[in-house]
């Protein structure tokens, strides 16, 4: 039964029907997956710093993050003998990493070479076979998260965004709601019913019904937050506030989620240990930590993947920034993952190994990586993985 129909039945049976947790059949303790998309192509080389590479320091004279030096808070935080973490993540993701709840996959990304934000984002979100892209006609109506929701039992998908992202496009209607500003309920049940009825038989009927219903659910979930806020003078802001709300909804109701974060397109003055990129990554790190806290006991059943459309040029440009590149660094976080390591295929960070003498190469294709992750997380069959990522070769990075 489709979620909407279920909601409909329950609306008839019990007037105030959608109390958190009752709507979905997914058993408590079932896996949760959240995709965090950093839109704009974040400069991964200044977040997971290849500090053993002399070439990194040579080609980033103004923006390189200093080598780890133990006590110095301005330097990178060593993870192993090659890689170090941006100091802006010291109090957030670095702590998760130390608890083996975070790992990084450098040289990750897509085969798309347009270096266009918009094409590459769409390409990743559609997740279709490379052959479709070469012919230039991907099916724009089918995103990989929607296909994932189609093969996972009790998927309960949701996008925490203003509009429905490309990755959730598909035949089933998947709800979305932005958690940035959630106000008081506007319509009572009678008014909502009349509004819904206007769209009976219309192709927007599912969106209208879901939208009105979801608005009520979220308002209820937020009531708790408001109570807490009135006691606590330090209310979180920005992404941290959103991430807390995501955590609450995914703890109680939803199993497959999507959220995006913007502001990563650092062509000019991106900074190094401090500055524009560091501020943005600090906010992201704090948000992810808040999410893990809000999920509580369910954090151990949760996996979060942080991705971006591409990395940036390995060398800094003429304006103390970086331009569009290729390979990126993906992050996997979760309460019971096999973390605390830098995973996947790697190569030395030297000029010779750069892709087209400019960018990180892609050695860990994202469909292979995520396909392998999904197979392990839900125990999907090879056929199911192929439904999510057609013509892909899943790689098991032993994340779970």
């Amino acid at each position: 039964m489709r979620r909407r129909e279920l909601l409909h039945l329950m609306a008839c049976a019990v007037p105030a029907c959608t109390a958190a947790g009752r709507v979905f059949a997914a058993p408590p303790g079932s896996p949760r997956f959240l995709l965090v998309f950093l839109r704009g192509g974040y400069d991964c080389a200044n977040i997971l710093i290849p500090y053993s590479s002399a070439y990194y320091y040579e080609t980033r004279p103004n923006i390189a993050v200093r080598r780890p030096t133990g006590q110095d808070t301005g330097g990178a935080l060593a993870l192993d003998s090659d890689w170090a973490l941006a100091p802006a993540l010291r109090s957030s993701v670095a702590l998760l990493y130390a608890q083996r709840q975070a790992l990084f996959i450098p040289f990750a990304g897509t085969e798309d070479l347009s270096r266009s934000h918009f094409e590459t984002q769409d390409d990743i979100e559609l997740g279709q076979a490379a052959s479709g892209r070469v012919q230039g006609s991907p099916d724009l109506r089918s995103g990989f998260m929607a296909r994932l929701a189609g093969v996972v039992n009790g998927a309960a998908p949701i996008a925490f965004t203003d509009s429905l992202p490309v990755c959730f496009r598909g035949s089933a209607d998947i709800p979305n709601i932005s958690l940035k500003g959630v106000g008081r309920l506007v319509f009572d049940a009678r008014q909502a019913a009349i509004l819904s009825a206007m769209y009976t038989g219309h192709h927007l009927q599912p969106q209208v019904e879901d939208g009105l219903e979801l608005r009520q659910e979220v308002s209820r979930a937020m009531e708790q937050e408001m109570k807490e806020a009135s006691r606590d003078a330090l209310t979180p802001k920005g992404f941290e506030l959103e991430a807390r709300r995501v955590g609450r909804l995914m703890r109680d109701q939803y199993r497959i989620g999507f959220i995006d974060v913007g502001g990563w397109d650092t062509h000019v003055n991106e900074g190094s240990a401090q500055g524009a990129l560091a501020n943005n990554i600090d906010s992201l790190g704090k948000g992810l930590t808040a999410l893990s806290q809000e999920l509580g006991a369910e954090w151990r059943n949760t996996v979060v993947a942080v991705v971006s459309e591409f990395g940036r040029t390995f060398r800094e440009n003429g304006n103390k920034g970086t331009d569009h590149g290729h390979g990126s660094v993906y992050w996997i976080l979760g309460g019971s993952i096999n973390g605390g390591r830098v995973a996947g295929e790697q190569t030395g960070v030297t000029r010779e190994n750069l892709f087209q003498d400019r960018d990180y190469p892609v050695l860990n294709e994202y469909r292979a990586v995520l396909g392998g992750l999904f197979a392990a997380l839900w125990g999907l069959s090879p056929e199911q993985v192929q439904q999510v990522f057609p013509a892909s070769t899943p790689v098991d990075l032993k994340v779970i």
Binding site: L195, M198, G211, G318, D323
Partner: protein
């Protein structure tokens, strides 16, 4: 008579008793369903003045007026509001110079607290400038009779999108919009050059910082991908880098002081308003773009590059398709796009001619009533219907509604512009938000008639949507679902909300 009937009848009676309404000639004629739908598509929504103009001129002459004469005929009260705006009396270069000098003064302050306070004040001024720009755009969208020109101004502002929060763009967006309006129905090539040399774009996509030896390819990439050719049309990463080299030295100087240049560079130096071409920053080597060799020169390299881009068949096809997506369908018929592209090539990118092809096409007629209104169309059409030419005194509520629906003017952070398709605006979260805005507009309490200078407000209640205009151009064509909902309304507020939330009103 049920309650709804009595509300509607009151509205009509009031209007008739006041002797308002269209001219006698127009009053006699009536709109067919097809006329009403056509007008809904071609304009930002029906008003009494638009309907009467259409009935007076007929479709062909109405279209001709829209495409070629473009007389805005703003109501005097609206013209006076626009004239009172600061942005209506300052050029981009004046504003840029003022803000740059103020920033220099603030940076030189030694007192940190004073620095912070002055910076905050300057930011607020910038926000106010951008608000004035948005206010002017909205007043024109609502009240100008040149409705296609206004929609095209929005369309190109979105196509050549800039973001008010990048650098000093807040101070420049008003001028940018006017620059675009001047070319909105002219030649596409002029539009590209006008945006390329505008300081708002030069700041937004960083070309102001693109110089020989300090290459920044941000603008060069988007100029091909988003502005002229479209992604996947055959250009390469190498072309992007070569175009970036051609664009080195295209930048900003608000001071008006010519730099000291070597003699051989002086004749290549260009300066107009805040735009500057500085040959000292220009890459003097030979470049190759799309297979064509560019011998070293000055700004003429840029002009030749733009000529080359806009004469590509890919450009004609890309721009035609974008226009057809905006005015006809999310996935426009290929035959229509080909017809438009042919006109584009034949007329060297005459936008009015391309639109003539579009508006006279069978494909447009076949699509009437099926295009989902983006938030701009939605909000402007509600205000046009609800206040029907009566001058609003405060534009803040309109700006806020657009914000809430996710499509503020000058507010798109990324250079791709807002989506032109239904799927970008009709998700579940967006539909529920839209209904909430429908209620806010229907409640009429947003402060539209509280003057922005703080003087005493006129008392207003709910907007009367059930007017003569409603009964002549909307009510006869309502769907059964919408009628049923309107019949169930228990108050004027609910009735307004349901009408504005109905599928009938959300498509055009």
């Amino acid at each position: 008579m049920n309650r709804l009937g009595s509300i509607a009848a009151t509205g009509l009676a009031v209007l008739c008793a006041a002797g308002g309404g269209p001219s006698a000639r127009a009053a006699g004629a009536t709109l067919s369903r097809e006329d009403a739908l056509w007008l809904e598509r071609v304009t930002y929504g029906l008003t009494t003045a638009t309907v009467s103009e259409y009935l007076k001129l007929g479709r062909r002459r109405y279209l001709d007026e829209q495409l070629h004469r473009r007389d805005p005929r703003l109501p005097p009260q609206i013209a006076a509001q626009i004239d009172a705006l600061q942005v209506s009396h300052s050029s981009a270069s004046q504003l840029l110079l003022a803000v740059t000098q103020e920033q220099q003064r603030i940076n030189a302050l030694s007192d940190d607290a004073a620095k912070q306070a002055d910076r905050k004040a300057l930011n607020e001024q910038g926000n106010h400038m951008a608000y004035e720009a948005a206010r002017r755009e909205l007043l024109r969208a609502i009240y100008s009779q040149a409705q296609i020109q206004e929609q095209m101004t929005w369309f190109w502002l979105n196509h050549f999108s800039v973001f008010q929060y990048k650098a000093n763009d807040a101070w420049l967006v008003a001028d940018y919009a006017d620059t675009i309006r001047a070319h909105a129905l002219g030649h596409f090539r002029d539009l590209v050059i006008a945006t390329l040399t505008h300081p708002a774009m030069l700041q937004y996509l960083d070309n102001a910082q693109n110089a020989a030896g300090h290459l920044n390819e941000n603008y060069a990439r988007e100029l091909m991908e988003l502005h002229t050719l479209g992604v996947g049309s055959g250009y390469t990463q190498q072309d992007i880098q070569e175009l970036a080299r051609i664009l080195t030295g295209v930048g900003i100087d608000a001071s008006g002081r010519e730099p000291r240049l070597k003699p051989q560079w002086q004749k290549l130096y260009r300066h107009e308003g805040a735009f500057e071409f500085n040959p000292a920053r220009h890459d003097a080597g030979t470049k190759t773009l799309l297979g064509k060799t560019f011998e070293p020169g000055g700004f003429d390299e840029v002009e030749r590059a733009v000529d080359l881009l806009v004469s590509q068949p890919a450009c004609a096809a890309f721009i035609s398709r974008q226009l057809a997506m905006y005015f006809v369908a999310d996935d426009p018929p290929r035959a229509l796009v080909e017809k438009m592209a042919k006109t584009f090539r034949k007329t060297h990118g005459d936008i009015a001619e391309v639109l003539q092809t579009l508006f006279e096409s069978r494909e447009l007629s076949a699509s009437l009533g099926t295009k989902f209104k983006d938030p701009m169309h939605y909000v402007v059409s509600t205000v046009r219907l609800a206040y029907d030419g009566k001058a609003i005194l405060n534009t803040h509520p309109v700006v806020n509604w657009l914000d809430a629906l996710g499509e503020p003017l000058f507010g798109r952070q990324t250079p791709d512009g807002y989506p032109l398709t239904e799927s970008g605006w009709a998700s579940s979260g967006q539909m529920s938000r839209r209904f909430e805005i429908a209620r806010a507009i229907g409640a009429g309490n947003g402060g539209l008639f509280e003057p922005e200078d703080g003087s005493a407000a006129a008392t207003t209640g709910f907007p009367q949507l059930s007017t003569r205009l409603y009964f002549s151009a909307i009510e006869p064509f309502l769907s059964v679902n919408a009628r049923t909902a309107l019949d169930r309304a228990s108050s004027q507020l609910e009735w307004n909300t349901f009408l504005l939330a109905s599928p009938d009103f959300n498509y055009h």
